[in-house]
């Protein structure tokens, strides 16, 4: 069947930030498939120039309203690496615990509030409050736990207050912290129910061979710092991130694009799971297998499942961290900071992929230059190539306008793009 199709989605909904989709098919032939980013840039890299080091994490956390914790931690790591500061084990544990809860919070928000309505045939989560109250209650419970623990460790769930260069301004209350153990165990059970719900969804059947890039786990599943690895076999140490991100500019986007071994690559939960599968906790690996998610998986829609798998992983690992923290006495919350001239790079796996913050400082610790490379920027080119392939496949299958539009929107949503972040 030959189809004609003309789709134009302005300001795609249920994603963070502003992007447009255009697909035009004439007589069964794909004429155009375009992923446009129209977000207004905010120029964080310029606004920091001349500011002292302590401004960086405070201002840079505000690049993103979803992963402000990840930005704050990447910024702190960049500053600490420039000044030669190695955080204490206690600080490292608290930061990872905080990071885990941001991952859980963000993934649950994406899976239930942004993605699930597509599979349940609704425009948003709001009608589900009446039609599927148990689903909404489950999501609110998981997200609430993650946010409450972020408050306890980071001082605030959005734009954290306690996270500083050298450590924390204040430590969590031990009694309250131990109270989270039961809630985390409950969340692990809740995630099994979430998995049962997602097993009822039919994920689109679409595969395009892709290069996946993530941090490389050394002994444990990677979240904070370390080298990168790609499924095409590339590895790069943390300070050499520019050899991977290779940012360049295109006219269809106010966000920069990236490429490594091929025309594009993907970062995010699916990339992390693909590249570090054996380092997942056993129960998370088992869950992945139940969904047929085994490396290397090239279906971008399975990024949703990879997020679900990571939810289970971080919940289990958070219990381990909690036990380790509660099993040792509190030490000093923060180290003394002595600024020095130099350059520092901080890599963090945020919910949507690898985030880099790099700073160059003068001898008193003022910022000379700054570079932030956002995971969604790294994904934009890959979204474009997937969209083209998906539109071509849909044209061949003779699908109708509405179905193609639905698949295209779901494709972009599967990447969980954080567009205002990518333009920053």
């Amino acid at each position: 069947m030959k189809v004609d199709c003309d789709i134009s989605v302005r300001h795609l909904t249920r994603v963070e930030g502003h992007g447009n989709i255009r697909i035009r098919i004439e007589d069964g032939e794909l004429r155009e498939a375009l992923w446009e980013v129209v977000e207004t840039p905010r120029f964080f890299e310029a606004m920091l120039v001349g500011k002292r080091w302590d401004n960086a994490p405070w201002i840079c956390g505000r690049i993103c309203g979803i992963c402000s914790i990840g930005h704050t931690l990447a910024s702190i790591r960049g500053v600490e690496n420039a000044f030669g500061i190695i955080p204490s084990l206690q600080t490292a544990r608290l930061r990872l615990l905080l990071k885990h809860m941001e991952t859980l919070q963000s993934h649950v928000l994406h899976l239930f509030f942004l993605v699930a309505p597509d599979f349940l045939g609704e425009a948003s989560v709001l009608p589900l409050i009446r039609s599927r109250p148990e689903v909404v209650a489950l999501a609110a419970g998981l997200k609430g736990l993650a946010n409450d623990l972020c408050d306890e460790v980071g001082g605030r769930r959005l734009h954290p207050t306690r996270t500083v260069v050298g450590g924390f301004t204040m430590l969590p209350d031990r009694r309250r912290l131990s109270g989270f153990r039961a809630r985390l165990l409950e969340a692990a059970e809740g995630l099994k129910q979430a998995a049962a719900i997602f097993k009822g969804f039919r994920l689109p059947d679409f595969v395009r061979e892709t290069e996946f890039v993530s941090l490389k786990g050394e002994g444990e599943y990677p979240f904070i710092g370390g080298s990168l690895i790609s499924s095409d076999g590339v590895t790069r140490p943390e300070p050499d991130y520019r050899l991977m991100t290779n940012e360049y500019l295109v006219l269809q986007s106010t966000s920069k694009w990236s490429k490594l071994s091929r025309d594009s690559f993907a970062v995010g939960a699916l990339a992390r799971v693909n590249n570090n599968f054996r380092l997942l906790r056993p129960e998370a690996r088992e869950l992945a297998r139940e969904f047929g998610l085994v490396p290397v998986c090239h279906n971008p829609y399975l990024n949703n499942i990879a997020q679900l798998v990571e939810c289970l992983h971080v919940t289990g690992d958070a219990i381990r961290l909690l036990d380790e923290l509660l099993g040792s006495a509190w030490e000093q919350p923060r180290l003394e900071v002595t600024p020095q001239a130099g350059r520092g790079v901080g890599a963090v796996e945020v919910p949507r992929g690898i985030l880099y913050h790099a700073y160059e400082f003068d001898e008193v610790g003022r910022i000379v230059s700054c570079d932030c490379v956002i995971p969604t920027s790294q994904n934009h080119a890959n979204i474009q190539h997937d969209l083209t392939a998906l539109a071509r496949q849909s044209a061949r299958q003779g699908l109708g306008d509405r179905e193609i539009e639905r698949l295209a929107e779901m494709l972009v949503r599967a990447y969980d793009p954080c567009i205002s972040c990518s333009v920053h």
């Binding site: 207004t40 120029f43 606004m47 401004n55 993103c64 009446r130 605030r156 204040m170």
Partner: protein, 268 residues
Amino acid sequence: MPDSSSTPKNYLGVPVKRPKVAFFELSSCEGCQLQMLNNESSLLAFLDLVEIVRFREAMSGGGDDYEIALVEGSVTRSDEVERLKIIRAQARLLVALGSCACFGGVNQLKNRFPLDWVKREVYGEHPIDTAPARPLSDFVAVDLKIYGCPVKKEEVERIVTDLVIGKDIAYPDYPVCMECKANGNLCLFELGEPCLGPVTRAGCDAWCPNSRAGCWGCRGPATDANLAQMLAIMDERGFSRETVIDRLECFGGFASQVAALRAAGGHR
């Protein structure tokens, strides 16, 4: 959308009509809107009080028949001015949500530099459209401001509830310092930390000082803020004028005070 949209709701036994509310975002991190979804424990009760007709970050579709528009972000491009004017024409009540909308927020830090340099620093020679970051009130009449970076979700819910039931909206006119003292915190100056608590508008319940992080003035100046006295404290405690300016200028709420300080001291 919920089918009971036109059903009157009760608040303390008094029937109230659910107003139609829309969320919009200009240049921002969208964090202030997300704060609404972050309030898991009272979100459902809040949704009972208002009818949300547009919230792009969370829902597809949506209507243009809203009465209350909550607008997040600052204005940095001409198409945003046009969007804002359309929203203003429709909304009975336009609310500036968060520091970016109220003062320009962190985005206005780029206004320290010539625009050409800012563009070149980030995009090189690639063409990019941007203007200095400005608050909403530079372009349209703003009926109500909800301060903070981020906004405090409890405060947003309280203000919207007050609007729905027809109560006057009251802001505290005292500074963050008062809330901090009431919470029994150790003063951050005693811990060697700079803090704008003495001059910043309260209402956040000393959110940052409660975590032993000094205030950065995200809510702007309190009524009759005594800036001269705060500068004297900062001097006495040995904090440089640069440290004070970094904080005062971070969110744009103290723009006139910063301009005066710069003019007086020749700072950067």
